[in-house]
Symmetry: C2
């Protein structure tokens, strides 16, 4: 109706996508919180990684990907050493604020540009960002099984 015929069709705007992602991150934060401290870096099923290692991986991907798309600077440092749950949550919240600030600096056309994330993953920016979100959802699903196997009720998937 009000759509310029020359403008590309919009499935979702950058603003709405960030809100969607932060909703997922709020849910993942609750999953981290629900793990008993002593199980976070020890408990697993089927020989897979414990959820604490996964949470650290998520931290190493989310803000670093947004920063890379925003600035072209790719942070490939990745601290894998176990840290207390409180410290993971503190870094999670810090990332949330940093992501919101950096996202606002991304020019809209950037989301459609080809780039090489972290010096080794080529792709269009929107696909690289969706990959990080999808990876979080995927591994959080793994975390749900761990929680159930520990006898802990995970939060409803639809609560963000």
């Amino acid at each position: 109706m009000s759509t310029e015929s020359a403008a590309p069709a919009v499935f979702i705007t950058p603003e709405a996508l960030l809100e969607h992602w932060q909703g997922h991150r709020r849910l993942t934060r609750r999953v981290i919180e629900l793990f008993p401290d002593h199980e976070l870096f020890t408990f697993s099923v089927g020989g897979m990684r414990p959820f604490g290692a996964i949470a650290l991986e998520m931290l190493s991907m989310a803000m670093p990907m947004v920063r890379g798309v925003a600035t072209g600077e790719w942070d490939t440092s990745f601290d894998r050493d176990p840290i207390p749950k409180d410290e993971i949550l503190r870094r999670w919240d810090e990332s949330t604020d940093q992501m919101n600030a950096a996202w606002a600096q991304i020019p809209p056309e950037r989301f459609h540009e080809q780039m090489t994330a972290f010096g080794q993953y080529p792709g269009v920016a929107h696909d690289l960002l969706l990959y990080v979100i999808d990876n979080e959802i995927h591994h959080r699903g793994q975390g749900y099984v761990y929680l159930r196997a520990l006898g802990i009720e995970p939060p409803p998937f639809w609560e963000r």
Copy 2:
């Protein structure tokens, strides 16, 4: 650069989002295929649903959501009876073709309209569609743990 200042910013176009989704659906299809027939509706971890029940749920959400957004007709029938793996895969492929056809009929402005999916889930169309995709990724992550617990190597998450 070529962006009309009046046009909304685009994170991703409908066409690219469908391609992204179908990539996820190809991966989920491989996960279904990897389950031994006799484990598909019996094996689980932590008292959660077996993966066959989850695959049927995915089928009841994907094409029905796309059809609903495209036509306003919401199919709430949901067959939960276990069926052979081959039949699940046949329905999966059938849905893939139906989704591609129905998606092409969705006017771009529709993705930003408020609606009530299946007569009970209110939301903006893009959020309702992302919910279905996210739900698939989430439960497929659960399927990865089941496969590992069965001693079966799941496909790499990044292969679509």
